[in-house]
Symmetry: C2
Subunit: 200 residues, 2 copies
């Protein structure tokens, strides 16, 4: 032998293509699977296919959803004048977690990155502009990460959307609440000083 049977090696190869799964953990999972109860393996296979088949992008905002449009876009209690622009569908979860934001969302699907061949036309910007025409949007809050590409994309959006008679803002970057100055890196500290606000 000197090698595992083919059904296991094929499974290891497929598992190894999932994000965050290296060759060792793919092997560990595959060996676990072949020694598991058959019904639990079938159930996992069924859930994989079901999730892929049932979940799609919201036609309005791009969030992951089972129904069209998604729950947030359908919710009449949401403030339709506020749109928060995020990079990926998961980012919505982060902003929803504290349950303080009451507006809607728009998923960009990425950031402008000339090095990776991603231009503005590859992002969901045209559909955001279309929403500006159809919905009563007053403010667009950009919640992209604060790296080179996030900054560039934010400035690009501010310029392009600023012409459409809508307020464009960006979430604040600064010290995490409850954290002292001694734990902050230099960049965060500069951002915190740059973004200072009057106290009274």
């Amino acid at each position: 032998m000197a090698s595992l049977p083919e059904p296991i090696t094929s499974l290891i190869a497929a598992l190894g293509r999932l994000p965050g799964i290296g060759p060792r953990s793919a092997e560990r999972i595959a060996l676990h699977v072949v020694q598991s109860e058959a019904p639990s393996v079938k159930e996992l296979a069924r859930l994989l296919v079901a999730a892929r088949e049932k979940i799609g992008e919201c036609s309005a905002c791009g969030a992951l959803t089972e129904q069209q449009p998604c729950e947030i876009c359908r919710d009449p209690r949401r403030d339709g004048s506020l749109i928060c622009v995020v990079e990926r569908p998961v980012d919505i979860l982060s902003i929803e977690r504290p349950a303080t934001y009451r507006g809607r969302f728009h998923v960009l699907g990425g950031k402008i990155s000339p090095l990776n061949g991603i231009g503005p036309e590859d992002l969901r910007i045209a559909s955001l502009e279309a929403r500006l025409g159809n919905e009563k949007i007053q403010e667009i809050i950009i919640a992209l990460s604060s790296d080179v590409e996030g900054d560039a994309t934010s400035f690009y959006l501010a310029q392009r959307l600023g012409r459409k008679n809508v307020k464009v803002t960006r979430i604040a970057h600064g010290l995490p609440v409850g954290s002292g100055l001694e734990f902050a890196d230099g960049l965060t500290l500069s951002k915190a000083i740059e973004g200072r606000r009057p106290l009274a």
Copy 2:
């Protein structure tokens, strides 16, 4: 929303039950899956079920195999007088890797561990004794790990099998080849000195 759609949360829960997959990586994999091409997800599901259905334990040695008996047990070029006893089916791969061992194997399926309620009757010891009766076995090489349970199981096997007119040996524990004394831990060094062999 504030939460992911149900098909995704169910998938995350199922993925989180796999070995080495925490909640964060389960979420990452699930989100990757719902945004992947449908055929690749179906293929992964198919491979999971196929591996579970096609792979079983070799009726003779307990290795993972598609056919009965396994490739090694069927191979007439293998030395049938030598049996290497390992804990898990994967351990066979480790011993096969250098391609120097030419005997057969026997998978014990665990180690004696009173704390975890695993006694000799829970391991594949009876089938090993049966092989001693049916096959022309001259030597049993125990290749269990060198921890408390591995040591206890090895001594138990040596006692129980020693009565059957078969030589029982254990693989050597000592310094890894190419590694200096300065990198060895105390236990390994004591084992290395204990297991010293005459040079000439």
